[in-house]
Structures are given as C-alpha cells and as structure tokens.
Symmetry: C2
Amino acid sequence: MTSSTNQQILLKTRPVEEPKESDFALVETPIPEPGEGEVLNRTIYLSLDPYMRGRMSDRESYAAPVELGSVMVGGTVSQVLKSNHPQFSAGDFVLGYDGWQAYGVSKGETLRKLDPNQAPISYALSVTGMPGMTAYFALLNVGQPKAGETVVVSAASGAVGSIVGQIAKIKGCRAVGVAGSDAKCDYAVKELGFDACINRKTQELSFALKDACPNGIDVYFDNTAGPILEAVLQQINLGARIPLVGLISQYNAENPPPGPNLMPLLIKRALIKGFLVVDYQNRQAEFLNDVSQWLREGKLKYKEDIVEGLENASDAFIGLLQGKNFGKLIVKVSDDPTQ
Amino acid sequence: MTSSTNQQILLKTRPVEEPKESDFALVETPIPEPGEGEVLNRTIYLSLDPYMRGRMSDRESYAAPVELGSVMVGGTVSQVLKSNHPQFSAGDFVLGYDGWQAYGVSKGETLRKLDPNQAPISYALSVTGMPGMTAYFALLNVGQPKAGETVVVSAASGAVGSIVGQIAKIKGCRAVGVAGSDAKCDYAVKELGFDACINRKTQELSFALKDACPNGIDVYFDNTAGPILEAVLQQINLGARIPLVGLISQYNAENPPPGPNLMPLLIKRALIKGFLVVDYQNRQAEFLNDVSQWLREGKLKYKEDIVEGLENASDAFIGLLQGKNFGKLIVKVSDDPTQ
C-alpha cells in the first residue's frame, strides 16, 4: 500500500441515452477500515460489463439502481490487505464486488479466493466468472443445442459471445457469430473456430444469415436484441430456442424501442426466454468443472481487452456500449503481482 | 338429401387487410360421389376460426395457403350420406374437415365418429374439438399454472379464451379475462366464473390489469398479441410463462407490425413460446377424458354463436376478426337431426 488515499468513481448524474464522462466523478477518499468479519482489498482488476448501464438508470430492473453520489458497482479481482475474516489472509487474491474504486471493504462471505496457479486471476472476471457462467448456462439450459444444429450468437467476439460459440463447437454444433467489425469476425473464425461470422456493419443481415446458416437457425443466443433478433426470427427452425441474455442495442435508449413481430414464434413453435446468471449461482461448481477442463485442453480460448488506470474506466465503459472493445473489457486498477 | 346440387364458398381473391365479401364466391356444383375408402357427408355445422385468415394469404405460415378458386378450408360436423369406408354408415355423425361447403367427400381415416348422446354434436368444433384442445394443452403444457397464481387470457369470451379461464379456475388460479365489450366481460365473470374481466375498449389496460391482478401475472395466454401483450409484459412476475397461441390483432395487417419491447422477459426470466395444436394431435384421449368429465360435472360451460346458412359464412368470418361474435362462431349449414 503505497498510497494512503482511495480513488473512487461515483455516479454523479443519471445518463440520458449514451453515458458521458460528466455523468461520473473521480474522487479521493480515505482508505476504509475493515470491520468485524470484513476484509480490506486492493483492487487489481475491475470488470466492465453492459449490465452496468441498467444500474445507472432508475427504471425498474432486476436490481436496484446505483444511488447518485455512490460508487459505481462492478466485479473486481483484488489482493487482500487486511482481513478480519478467518478464511482470508493478507496477500490472498479474491474475486469480489468492490466496484469502481482502488480499495474496497467487503464482508468475507461475499468473496471467493482465487488460486493464481490455476488460471490468470483476471479470468475470474470473464471465462471462469460471470460472463463464462452466462454463456454456459444460457446456452446449455435454455438453448439446449444438439449436435448438428446451428447456433447463432450476437456480440460474438465479446466476453459472453466468444464463449458461446466455442461451447457450441464443443457440443458438435455449427457456430455462427454476428459482430461489429471484420477484425472481430476474423478473430471469431480463425482464432475461436466459429464456422462463420457476419459483420453486421457491412453485410446485409438476412442474406448473410441465409448464407451462413444453410440449414436454418436452431438456437439464437441473443446478447443484443434489435435488428439481429428480427432478422434471425425470419430464419428459425421448428422448435427453435432463443435465450434472451442482453439487449445491448437498446441500453442507451431513453424510451424502450418496439421489439420484433412475434408471428415466427407461433409458426415455428419457438421460444424466447429471459436469462439472468444470478439464478444459477448455486451451480457454479458444475460450470467451473467443465470450463477448467476445456481451458486445460485448449478447447476454450479467451481474449481480454485491458485498459490501464481507474481514471479511464468511464471512457472505456462508454466505448463498451458502442462495441469499441475487442474481447472482455477489464480495467487494470493496480499492479498484478502474479504477472 | 332434398337438393341435388352442392353449395361451396371459394376463395376468389386474396384479401388485402380486412377480408371483403367480394373475396369469396358462392357457387353451385354437382354433389360429388365418394370413391373407394371415401365418405360423402352433408355438412351440418361449419366452424369459423381466426386461423383461417392465415390460409387466405400466401405469406409463409405453418400451413399452405388455400389456392385461389378452391373451397375455403374448415372443420365440419356432418352426417354421413354414403360410405365406402367400413367404419362409417349412412346416418352417422362425424367430425371432419370438409370446409365451406354443403356436401363434402373425405377419406374415412380423416373422420371421427361422434356420439350425439354424449354431448351436442356441434361441441366437436369447440369445447371437445380444436379450440378446446388448444386451450387445454397451451395452458397446461406451456403456461403450467400453479394453484394460487394469476392467469390472464385475451379474447376471453371466445372459443379458446372461455375454456382457458375455466381450466385456470379448476386448477385453483385467479382467472382474469380481457374482452371487447361489457356483455362479454359480464358473461366471463358471471357465467364462466372468471375473477375479473377487462373491457379493452373502454378501460385503460395498464390500470385495469393492476387492479385485476394485485399479485402480478404468472401466466398470460395470448390469443391476440398487440397492445394487450405489451401491457401484460409490464406486470409479469418472476418466471412468468406466455403461450403465444394467436395474433388476432394483426391477422388483417398487410405488413407485420412491430412487437413489444422484450426487456421485461429478461428482467423477469420469463418465456414466450409459440403453440400450435397440431403438435398435440396424438394426445387427444387425455384431453377428451378431462374435458368430458368437467362438462359432466358442470365445471365447464360453453357458449356458441350460431349463424344460419352457408351464404352468411363470409360475413360472419369478417365479423369474427373484428370481435363481433360472442362465443364460438359456427355456421349452421343444414338441419341438425339431433335437436
């Protein structure tokens, strides 16, 4: 601990449409002291994820909004500095939810200890963490892909989508991505092993989907909603399954835009089902078991997009909603002693 | 058989938006002769159902469109006049699919014999037929209502909706209807035992749903899509189920209108699933068993809206899409000897 002050990013005003730098305030505060059963952590990595846009807004959602003047929430990988909890000692690496700040105090029960010899500690924010669990359970439990079927995923090079396509391949499916640039598509096909990837900015979606999915679409893993969902619905097969996992395309919208016409669901007896990873917290072991094995076997590759410095978090987050990141977006808040 | 000519209603032109009388042609043709394994029937009752609008159109759907110049399709209850099939004899009453005509020839395998002592023969077009099966399987298999939950159904006094609400009550749920007039709502509440019914033409849907569903909505049986689905989505509970059974609100639309914003599905981890009764044909026995018992016990009531004369079928069908019928719409094509 070289510094004696904490840095925090507070939510200053609720964003209207796209968040702006001025919606956030970087402040310095004293480093807090841990109470009984609590742990003081130094943040190493902060995860930035699209769901955070929902927390900035006071519309009804599945979680309470961040209060104005409070620290923005977020998943963190940290090193323990002081522990008043029997399960943690100074020097331990932990996954927690300390938010957009350099130091945080958490109840010990909310932390998970990380073993830096098993996987890079930052992976706990992505492939072995929340995005990985989202990909795994929404695809396997709602999507229920069967070998030989075609799985389409939007935001295909992102934190969740990149894992979805690779699990689809592991399960013997044809994996087709939709992404926002040629570089992202190249990465999905050449590095991750997707069968095809559509650049939604340069290709006409309907034609491109027909080309990429000659046998129709059985599972659409929807991270975005909007025009991709609309185009996909025209090409779903009988009994198709659509886990609705995110609506990135509309997170900045002040008024919720209309959705797709639902006639194809009736014609094809298909389903759309909303998914939130919190419902699967008690099944983490099953997920970690499979994913660790796939990582060891080299069947699962992963890309991180690491931004240096907490002061750049808000700018990086604004870019995330515009699709500017390439791989899982993470802010490196302080040195990672495991590297 | 007093007449020697058949009367048929043909599809003359494909309707644009609302069907018009001039889209149909009433013609006289010779009464056909049954071939080997076939049966000649005199139509007593012809069923009119919203799905027929889809068959008039050549857009992609779950069934081929009726060809121009052909007899409009439809379920019929008839009396056998001549039979070349060992299972049927002259005088038998049968459920078939002879369409909008006074006499039809069918393969014996496609007919179901009806026992006029068990229930009025016309019920085979409604409560013990396709609309009844639709209500039963879409509610119980997709909706999966549990005692104490709230079930909302649109087109609540119609052929399907009226059964949905009564089955919901049998299963111990709160049943709330949405219908198009005070008379229909009174009928749903006072005759069928719904807990509440909203007149969508005079009441503000969101407020009325809040009033009628103080514990939120667990199952929405959707016959209509459109604004009712949109309002319901704002009030669904965690894990809500929405069988999408019809989209009456848009059957006349030339271009499919947008659907509802799907954010509530994500927030509430809810599902919308398309349903077609054809997928349940092999489970008819299970359905008939339950429904016959409920009819005997007086737990299931049923209302028919009977229009006299085949020549009035097209006008009655146009009214059906405008919600003018009150109860299951049936055309009485010729005398019912069981009455």
